[in-house]
């Protein structure tokens, strides 16, 4: 039997949903176990940094990194994974393009910290205590990583070979990726392992020849027809500019797509693409009418950049932009 592959799974600024997605492959996990040894997976087994550090450079066949890069320890983990992995996969929307944590890029880290530690109603912090990178406790020194000025996608910190999109990634694409590794038939570097069209292309809902938006309504104000295109019913959906491969799961369940698979190929800024896609579907004879319809969209930034703000050309929107030194 040839030598087994070695897989490593690294969580960073993430929620654990990506790890659950791996477990969700059910009995295929047995095939993975036949194929590969898992040499690092702290969410599931008791691994520490030193275990990954002890592996020779390139000793991990495929490293799967999930989560955004938010603090200085995440940066260390990203670099360590790159150094140890022959193939590095950005696993899930956060690693691919910042994900939900990168919504925080609309604020400075100081503004976020002020909310978290001073003004949230459940917080009582009269002395204004904040996390410190070093703290002299009576018994000795305590250290914490520094929260950087914004969230980053993995490929903004290190070189990435493949992307497994989704929040969370879908089982069939995880299996496809594992099978590609097993067969040695790897796609070209930079491939996003998912569909190549838009969510609308695999959406079973009916729509007009040319999709038409005449108004936007909040979802609780619409009698949602399960057969009909959500956008044509006035319900915001990111399907037109989002990569397919999820079988339009949210849309089938009656909720508009929020773009977790990221943009289709050759799109740099998902939000810009979505803004343009949605605007082009609005039916209006006059500028006033277009303004009226688009004005009904209550949170464009939150829809267009739900999962992809770290990769946006906007960077951070508000406050003094401070650059991270790492």
């Amino acid at each position: 039997m040839p030598e087994k592959f070695k897989f490593a799974f690294m969580p960073s600024a993430s929620c654990g949903g990506c790890e659950i997605a791996i477990v969700d492959i059910d009995e295929v996990i047995l095939k993975v176990a036949e194929l590969a040894d898992i040499v690092y997976w702290p969410t599931v087994l008791d691994f520490k940094d030193k275990d990954l550090e002890a592996i020779p450079d390139g000793g991990v066949t495929v490293g799967f990194y999930n989560g955004a890069v938010r603090n200085t320890h995440d940066v260390y983990h990203a670099k360590l994974m790159r150094q140890k992995s022959q193939v590095l996969v950005a696993f899930g929307a956060c690693a691919q393009m910042g994900g939900i944590p990168s919504l925080g890029n609309f604020w400075t880290t100081e503004e976020i910290a002020h909310r978290m530690y001073d003004t949230v109603p459940s917080v009582v912090n009269p002395e204004g205590t904040r996390p410190q990178t070093t703290f002299d406790a009576p018994e000795g020194e305590l250290t914490l990583p520094r929260a950087m000025e914004r969230s980053y996608a993995l490929d903004q910190v290190v070189d990435v070979d493949y992307y497994l999109p989704g929040c969370p990634p879908q089982v069939k694409w995880i299996v496809a990726a594992v099978e590609a590794v097993a067969s040695g038939e790897l796609p070209p570097k930079g491939t996003v392992i998912a569909g190549t069209k838009a969510v609308c292309d695999e959406c079973p809902r009916e729509r007009s020849e040319e999709k038409q938006i005449t108004e936007f309504k909040r979802i609780h104000l619409v009698e949602n027809d399960p057969e009909k295109c959500l956008l044509e019913q006035g319900i915001m959906c990111c399907g037109p500019a989002t990569r397919d491969g999820c079988e339009a799961a949210c849309v089938v369940a009656g909720q508009g797509c929020r773009g977790c698979f990221g943009p289709t190929d050759n799109v740099n800024d998902m939000g810009a693409k979505l803004a343009s896609a949605i605007a082009s579907l609005v039916i209006a004879d006059t500028q006033e009418e277009a303004d009226r319809v688009l004005g009904q969209l209550d949170d464009p930034a939150g829809y267009f950049y739900r999962f992809g703000l770290a990769k946006s050309m906007l960077g951070v929107q508000r406050g003094e932009r401070k650059d991270d030194d790492e």
Binding site: C15, G16, E19, I100, D299, G302
Partner: protein, 63 residues
């Protein structure tokens, strides 16, 4: 004082480290739980339509 650091706390979702300080007799003098990760849900949910919040906050913990 001797310090034992458990970082990361493994086999869970979320980020934590524990520092345990031992006195000269080897007994625990004090222990600290630290949460290293900051994401900011408390801030970036502000301004979002309320019906969108159940689609954002499940990503606090996806386990």
């Amino acid at each position: 004082m001797r310090k034992i650091e458990i970082d990361p706390i493994s086999r869970l979702e979320g980020h934590g480290k524990i520092a345990i300080f031992l006195d000269d007799a080897g007994d625990v003098a004090n222990a600290y739980l630290q949460i290293p990760e900051l994401r900011g849900f408390e801030q970036f949910c502000v301004g979002r339509p309320v019906e969108e919040v159940p689609r954002i906050t499940p990503r606090i913990c996806g386990v």
